[in-house]
């Protein structure tokens, strides 16, 4: 029997706000001493009350708009009740039946095709504290770090529109890209700022068999999402084929063993007893609010990708590389300034030399030390023939190291290309005299020998020779090869 996989995702992303969701504590707790970013509110002390962080609401709505969601005019917070030592109040302030954003979708490129995945909802809630489990003299104990408690968190729930683990991974990467473009989240999965749970089931193509939905947790990287889901596809399919029972349950991915194991079955599902948060007023959003938020949104990745392909005549792969990060795309456009001719060269330079420098120095494009205007100047120098491509690479490195403009470096170091025929002819003459074997080879019809001679000319001029002029002079001087 042929099966189809059905996957829906629940993604949590921490928002990049200055303060926490309901108090004034700094939300930037990474690397901080445990329990230093805390106050009565995020500690859940008796008598403390939450106050809504407006910026978090704006970021959530912006995310919803980017995901083509409908933003209802009325939204509210609810209490999700459960007890655990990482939950300071014994309930999490979340959103239940009236989330900030509903009914959207995200389109992205996968396998050269445009794929659309429905977004059921995006809601805003608070993160929990972090538990650190230790052992001392053979006895386990746990520590609580409350710094993370109350950091704003959005939950994005998709429709069950994904059909394979690879597609799920591609969706997650596209979603991460959107969040990063908006600047609302670092969406860093390894740091826990971007977390994903998945619901996965199988159904037969003829619709006669529908397997139960299994929730997969504890996937901490894009790779583990794909691996866990692939494992689960196989586990569920082989059970269905063998007629073994499958149950609706929650399973955890064990990274080291590369398997999923049952954590909780449906009968033990928690009743969270949601009810409206009485400490907070509802949120009303007007059309004006939405217009204002929309005005602050950048162009989104897929739109930009398509525009790059269209307006700059770039290939899909190149446009993809350039739009993967907003900062790179911004850099590209700042350099090109609408000039299609420069675009081709700029794309080459950025995806080639600059990316190499970024990798080598482990910096992002803003830290590489070459401003977009400087790259543009460099491209102009090559285009005008002032320097050749080889020298240009040297100049680029010099710009990144010194911060000086390419013009200045070329002038100061005398790197301008030698196109003067008299000067070049003298060098050509000398090279021909010093390399009789190559000359003989050339005259015997080994055309490739001219490359060697050209190299010698370049070497003599420390790479500054205008290659076209030098070749012309070499050919003139040597005459036509003997057939």
């Amino acid at each position: 029997m042929e099966f189809e996989t059905v996957i829906g995702l629940e993604v949590h992303a921490q928002l990049l706000t200055r303060s926490k969701m309901f108090c004034g504590c700094s939300a930037e707790y990474a690397g901080a001493e445990p329990n230093t970013h805390v106050c009565p509110v995020c500690l859940g002390l008796p008598g403390s009350l939450p106050v809504i962080n407006r910026q978090a609401v704006v970021s959530t709505v912006m995310t919803g708009l980017a995901l083509n969601c409908r933003i209802p005019p009325y939204s509210k917070f609810d209490r999700k009740n459960y007890m655990y030592p990482d939950l300071m109040k014994g309930y999490q302030i979340s959103q239940y039946d009236l989330p900030l954003c509903v009914e959207g979708y995200l389109e992205f490129q996968h396998d050269g095709q445009r794929k659309r995945v429905g977004i059921r909802r995006v809601h805003l809630e608070e993160d929990t504290a972090r538990l650190v489990h230790r052992t001392w003299n053979g006895t386990g104990y746990s520590l609580v770090d409350v710094n993370r408690s109350g950091v704003p968190l959005i939950e994005i729930v998709t429709e069950p529109d994904l059909r394979s683990p690879e597609e799920a991974r591609a969706f997650l990467m596209a979603l991460r890209q959107v969040l990063r473009y908006l600047g609302v989240s670092t969406a860093n999965m390894e740091e826990g700022a971007f977390r994903c749970d998945a619901n996965i089931s199988q159904r037969s193509l003829d619709g006669s068999v529908v397997g139960p939905k299994v929730e997969i947790k504890n996937m901490n990287s894009f790779r583990s999402v794909e691996r866990a889901l692939a494992y689960e596809v196989e586990r569920q399919r082989s059970a269905l084929r063998r007629g073994e029972p499958l149950v609706q349950e929650t399973r955890g991915w064990l990274e080291d063993q590369e398997i999923t194991v049952s954590q909780r079955t449906k009968e033990y599902a928690e009743d969270y007893r949601y009810f409206p948060e009485p400490d907070l007023p509802p949120i009303f959003l007007t059309e004006t609010d939405l217009v204002e938020i929309r005005a602050r949104m950048p162009e989104l990745p897929l739109t930009r990708f398509e525009r790059f392909v269209r307006d700059y005549a770039l290939g899909a792969a190149e446009a993809g590389l350039l739009t993967e990060e907003r900062a790179v795309a911004d850099y590209f456009e700042a350099c090109v300034q609408g000039d299609r001719e420069i675009a081709r060269q700029a794309a080459n330079w950025i995806t080639g030399e600059l990316f190499a420098l970024m990798r080598e120095r482990v910096v992002d494009i803003d830290g590489v030390g070459v401003r977009p205007g400087q790259l543009r100047q460099l491209i102009e120098l090559v285009r005008r023939g002032t320097i050749n491509a080889l020298t240009a690479k040297e100049v680029l490195v010099a710009v990144s190291e010194t911060g000086q403009d390419p013009d200045a470096i070329v002038a100061e170091r005398g790197l301008a290309q030698v196109s003067d025929e008299a000067q070049l002819r003298a060098v050509v003459q000398r090279v021909i005299e010093q390399n009789p074997k190559a000359v003989a080879d050339y005259r015997r019809g080994k055309g490739a020998a001219i490359g060697f001679l050209l190299g010698q000319v370049m070497k003599d001029l420390r790479g500054r020779a205008n290659p076209a002029v030098a070749r012309k002079l070499l050919e003139e001087t040597l005459g036509a090869p003997v057939e």
Binding site: P40, L45, P46, G47, S48, N81, L280
Partner: protein, 499 residues
């Protein structure tokens, strides 16, 4: 000096402090002396903060010497022990908060501190303000200064008794279903529950968030107005506090209520009503008419559902509000073999039976499959109750009702029957459900015990409540009555403010 300074009102004491006829330390000493005399019998306080008070009184005297006098500078105040204070433990009347000290002051506490008030102690309360008699305090019951065999009412019984006994000049309580007005009534003092949103709840240990309000107790309406003035106003830390201007309440106290329309609802005649109480309240109504008020019958048809609705909404909210007491972070912490065992032991021993009952009620009402039938329905009824009041206030300026159906009952009389206990709040709960302000004023005696009537008003119209209550008070002698116990100790040992 043989004068009893504990008999002064805030207005009188404040004037004499400003003129430097008395010092804040003397005023405090008089109250400490009273505490020494009667506290062993009354037990109005969970924690007495004599040293804090003394330092505050000395500071108040320095302020007064500089001419920097606020209305409550040097005034001895009791704080219900559900208000967070940095300089004393906050127990909420519960074992589960044993040893807990708040690292921050409640907003109302901060406001009083800024005025230079003197905190004599943390007043006794039913555990987490759940109760109507203060018998649910884990630290023992408070007794009524008018009759030590009787309860002072609750949950703010300590705050009411302290003021009635002269252990504090004024006090703060909290009112979720009547917890200020009912004990004010039982103890023969004035108590006001402000409009929901008038006073910040930041730092009030939460019972039912959508109903809780902090409010003052005093022996006169004017004293209550002064304290209300001090604690009112929007607080950025409490999103449910409303940003509307706070009027000058003392200017409301004109003494003139001619033409005021007072509504009386037929629905406030309930079975179980003590006929003596009814008679006293009827006399008060007649007095109000003599003062020029117009009595208008109104109808509040859904008010009969208020009590039942309250016992869905308040426990539901409480079940969540009390989930944080898990023994992990502060207060009582008992270790079990597993996390669940630790929770069960800590909460099992930390909470008293009434608190457990309400957590179970609320947890049940919010559970899957019951939520719509209970919580959602209760919210709908709440809207209807509110609508009744809106309609009534189109015809009248205030609504009058007895504060409680009976006078103070005996200790232990209702502890075995929660429903009987709950019924003592039948007249006070509707104002909480509708978020309206209510004031309880002494209006006579029945069976030798204080009887109280209640005025409810439009949202944020505390001014009219104070005006009506004040006019009545000034025309009647009830606020000058002193519990026999206090008369006795005053005669026995004239308080002079020194040891």
């Amino acid at each position: 000096m043989s004068e009893d300074l504990t008999r002064l009102t805030v207005t009188e004491a404040s004037a004499r402090l400003a003129r430097r006829e008395i010092s804040a330390v003397e005023l405090l000493q008089a109250h400490l002396e009273r505490i020494r005399q009667v506290e062993p019998q009354i037990h109005a306080f969970i924690t007495l903060t004599e040293e804090v008070a003394l330092a505050q009184a000395q500071e108040a005297d320095r302020r007064i010497a500089r001419g920097d006098v606020a209305p409550l500078t040097g005034i001895p105040i009791a704080l219900k022990d559900v208000l967070c204070t940095v300089d004393a433990p906050t127990t909420a009347g519960s074992r589960i908060l044993e040893g807990f000290r708040s690292p921050y002051d409640a907003t109302v506490v901060r406001k009083l501190r800024e005025q230079g008030a003197v905190f004599v102690g943390k007043a006794n309360t039913d555990e987490f303000a759940m109760g109507s008699s203060t018998e649910n305090s884990a630290y023992g019951p408070t007794r009524n200064p008018w009759d030590l065999e009787r309860v002072p009412g609750g949950s703010s019984g300590g705050s009411a008794a302290a003021v009635a006994a002269g252990e504090a000049m004024v006090s703060l309580g909290s009112d979720t279903g009547g917890s200020i007005r009912q004990p004010a009534g039982f103890c023969g003092v004035v108590g006001l529950k402000p409009t929901y949103g008038r006073v910040s709840r930041y730092g009030l240990v939460a019972f039912a968030s959508s109903l809780d309000q902090i409010g003052p107790f005093g022996r006169t309406v004017e004293d209550v107005a002064i304290v209300l003035q001090a604690i009112s106003g929007h607080d950025p830390c409490d999103s449910t506090s409303v940003d509307v201007p706070v009027p000058d309440y003392q200017t409301s106290l004109t003494g003139d209520i001619r033409g005021i329309r007072i509504g009386i609802a037929a629905e406030y005649q309930v079975p179980g009503m003590d006929p003596e109480v009814e008679r006293v309240v009827d006399e008060a109504v007649a007095e109000l008419q003599r003062l020029g008020a117009e009595i208008v019958p109104v109808s509040l048809p859904h008010t009969k559902y208020a009590l039942a609705t309250y016992y869905i909404i308040a426990p539901s909210e409480a079940s969540a509000n009390l989930a944080r007491y898990d023994g992990v972070k502060y207060g009582l912490s008992l270790q079990g073999e597993t996390l669940l065992e630790s929770y069960l032991q800590t909460r099992g021993r930390g909470f008293g039976p009434e608190v457990k009952r309400r957590i179970m009620l609320g947890t049940y009402a919010l559970s899957a499959g019951y939520y719509d039938a209970y919580y959602v329905k209760a919210q709908k009824v709440r809207t209807l109750i509110k609508r009744d009041f809106d309609e009534a206030f189109e015809k009248v300026d205030v609504i009058l009702a007895p504060t409680s159906p009976t006078v103070a009952f005996r200790l232990g009389e209702r502890t075995a029957d929660p429903i009987q206990m709950y019924l003592s709040d039948v007249f006070t709960i509707p104002a909480n459900m509708a978020g309206l302000p209510g004031i309880a004023v002494p209006c006579g005696f029945a069976h030798g015990l204080p009887v109280s009537m209640q005025f409810m008003g439009r949202p944020f119209d505390e001014g009219t409540l104070l005006r009506v209550a004040h006019a009545y008070e000034q025309a009647t002698p009830w606020h000058r009555a002193v519990p026999p116990l206090i008369e006795a100790v005053t005669r026995r040992a004239p308080s002079g403010g020194t040891e």
